[in-house]
């Protein structure tokens, strides 16, 4: 029961627990603060939270008191008493410790920071998602929208914009992690009468929805990023390539483009400057391969969406053979922040070679599913357990799949892997565009590998033989393994085929398609062997490999016998029943109907 008004008297304290703040003894502060709160009997009045890095490392340790969003910086052990006595007891914030920060990122935190799921995140690309009306340009403008654009048009040369992006250390968020600044530089230097800017919003990984949410929640930030990109490389035209199956995202993007034109951020002489740029939307039909940049370009040109060998890279010869700058939605969304909050600040977040944050679509067997944006360097364990809340129903963690159909499955021993491009690759997976699926003990790894390979096999465009034929052969082998017809040597065949396909395929789709299979073989080889040698599926997912039998708990109630569609169960009432394995079609109805746990499924 809630008591009227009670909630309003409660303070919520959030202490930053990022690496830098931790080095600055935020742990000691946590311990002391908890002691003080307890000894003064304030436990009912104060709720204590730990947050992930808040991005103000220089001024750390950071302590935030809500309501009111009072932010204290450089908090020392000696300051705690004053904060408690003055702020928590009397309601007077301690003015000398308050820091005033007006950064773009983490505005989200003011609304959502007290919930652990959100409080452990750091929102840069998704900074406005969930706190503004995406269909009202005024909401974006009020949060310093288009200020980064105005700033570069006023005082930063195109060349210096490129330098800033390079300095920030931003890398492509679409999956491959190519340094964004370098891409911009190459496109800027490339010769061409016309140049193009493209936003790749062809999000196709099963279970991934990062780009859709980003566009639906804050379309203007993507546009602003693209206009800045156009200015930097000297382009006058931009295109957003988005799949037609995202109607709401398209509608909001269209509205954003119209509003932006009306306000003078798109079109001729943007904000009174000499720079002119416009953006149009191109709809894709939803082929996975069109997320590959050369296939995407072909699709815009009106050809069949098929990749071509690189080089030449799109930065030199892209759309209509002109230099073209392609970045993914999330990459574009980071650009205004780098300009306004400085590249130096941006590069202070993350690991040595991976800067900033990454958005993940956390799904599968995890308590809190959802969109997660965390600093690079956060561990898989922190995402799955601290933010995701762990595995539901007391089940055991088995693996986490990152990078969608191009990625791999990592078992428990890799849970402390830090999220960055290199570490994930070293562990045998990839960053990818941000799909993250948690798998528990009830899932069969061979089946998971089969699922992803089925997807890539279906989506293979068929242009090159290794991908077209190779994935088909691999899928056939996987299919026979899961129905109990696997043969000795199948694992080796899969490995050989997989390595060949990776080496010989034309584009990223084929080059990464075997990853789910190869990584599950590397980490769960015994499950493959169990399927092939013992004809057993440990997780009980592969139906054909199951055997049902009746144990001595059977009381002879005849329920199973009555439900069996093929009359495979025999036995008289009040006597133990028997299943005829040769007749059994493994439908599992007897198992579901038995009230005495008398049916074994193995």
């Amino acid at each position: 029961m809630s008591v009227k008004g009670k909630r309003n008297e409660k303070f919520i304290i959030t202490l930053c627990d990022g690496t830098t703040c931790m080095n600055k003894k935020s742990k000691d502060i946590e311990i002391r603060l908890k002691e003080e709160i307890k000894s003064r009997g304030l436990e009912d009045k104060v709720q204590f939270n730990i947050s992930g890095c808040l991005g103000m490392c220089e001024k750390g340790p950071i302590l935030i008191v809500n309501p009111g969003f009072t932010m204290y910086g450089r908090v020392g052990l000696n300051d705690l008493q004053e904060i408690i006595e003055s702020h928590l007891c009397k309601g007077n914030p301690v003015a000398r410790l308050v820091i005033d920060e007006d950064h773009l990122y983490n505005r989200f935190f003011r609304v959502f920071g007290d919930v652990a799921f959100f409080g452990n995140q750091m929102r840069i690309a998704l900074r406005n998602c969930g706190i503004i009306d995406p269909e009202n340009i005024d909401d974006y403008l009020a949060l310093r929208g288009y200020e980064a654009l105005a700033k570069i048009l006023t005082e930063i040369s195109p060349n210096d914009v490129v330098e800033k992006i390079k300095k920030s250390g931003l890398r492509g968020r679409g999956g491959a992690g190519f340094p964004t600044g370098l891409k911009w530089e190459l496109t800027r230097k490339a010769e061409g009468k016309e140049k193009y800017v493209i936003c790749n919003a062809d999000e196709g990984d099963p279970g991934a929805f990062m780009d859709r949410s980003a566009i639906e929640g804050d379309p203007h930030t993507v546009l602003e990023g693209m206009i800045i990109g156009g200015y930097a490389i000297g382009a006058s035209k931009g295109l957003v390539y988005i799949r037609a199956e995202y109607p709401l995202a398209i509608k909001r993007l269209k509205k954003a483009i119209e509003d932006s034109r009306r306000e003078g951020f798109l079109g001729q002489n943007i904000l009174g400057s000499n720079f002119s740029f416009d953006i149009e939307i191109k709809l894709g039909a939803g082929a996975f391969v069109c997320g590959e940049e050369t296939a995407l370009i072909h699709s815009i040109e009106g050809s069949r969406g098929m990749p071509r060998p690189r080089p030449p890279f799109p930065s030199v010869s892209g759309l209509f053979a002109s230099p073209t700058l392609i970045n993914n939605v999330e990459t574009w969304a980071n650009i205004p922040v780098i300009i306004l909050d400085t590249p130096e600040w941006f590069s202070s977040i993350g690991t040595e070679r991976s800067k900033g944050t990454k958005v993940f679509a956390l799904a599968g067997k995890v308590v809190n599913t959802g969109l997660v944006e965390v600093p690079m360097g956060t561990t898989l364990r922190e995402i799955i357990y601290d933010i995701g809340g762990g595995i539901p129903d007391g089940k055991k963690f088995k693996a986490v799949q990152t990078g969608g159909p191009s990625g791999g499955c990592l078992p428990e021993k890799f849970l402390d892997t830090k999220i960055d491009y290199e570490s994930l690759a070293k562990a045998g997976s990839i960053m990818g565009s941000g799909g993250m699926i948690v798998i528990d003990e009830d899932s069969c790894m061979v089946n998971i590998a089969k699922f992803f390979l089925e997807f890539t096999q279906n989506e293979s465009c068929g242009k090159c033989t290794p991908c077209r034929e190779g994935t088909k052969r691999m899928l056939e082998i996987l299919e026979r393994i899961t129905v109990g017809k696997g043969q000795e040597g199948d694992i080796e065949k899969l490995e050989r085929l997989g390595k060949m396909i990776k080496k010989a395929s034309l584009c990223g789709l084929g080059q990464s398609a075997p990853n789910p299979v190869l990584s599950t073989i590397a980490n769960f080889r015994e499950e493959y062997e169990g399927h092939i040698r013992d004809k057993k599926c440990k997780a009980g997912e592969c139906k054909e490999l199951l055997t049902y039998s009746i144990n001595d708990k059977c009381v002879g109630c005849t329920a199973c016998k009555r439900v069996c569609p093929v009359n495979a169960i025999t036995g008289s009432p009040k006597e133990r029943h028997v299943i005829d394995e040769t007749k059994c079609i493994k439908c599992g109805q007897c198992f579901d109907v038995c009230k005495f746990k008398a049916i074994d499924k193995k």
């Binding site: 654009l149 105005a150 949410s213």
Partner: protein, 118 residues
Amino acid sequence: MLTPIELIKKKRAQAINRIIGKGYLSTKRVYVGMATCEIAAGSKDVWEVFDNAVKNGLTDVYLSQKGCAGRCNLEPTVEVIEEGKVPVKYGKITPEKAKEIIEKHIKNGEVIEKWVIK
């Protein structure tokens, strides 16, 4: 002539004025999640409840849609924000619950704790 920076500051001031003109400074601001995922979970009906209430005379409330905050399995979500108080975030809101939020929380300031996302 104004520089782009001067121009954007002017535009921002105008935008803020327009938002205030729409009632942003009301005692309570209500945000309803309206992304594809939220709508699939039923947020359009929830929006209707709030929208009708405002049209039928609920005052001192600023109603706005918002994108997806990212808490998939608790959608549709609704936030009630009041200056100087911790923003209240409700999860799994149905039209019936929305009506209750209007009656208890918006009209009487009584937070319905059991639906609050913790």
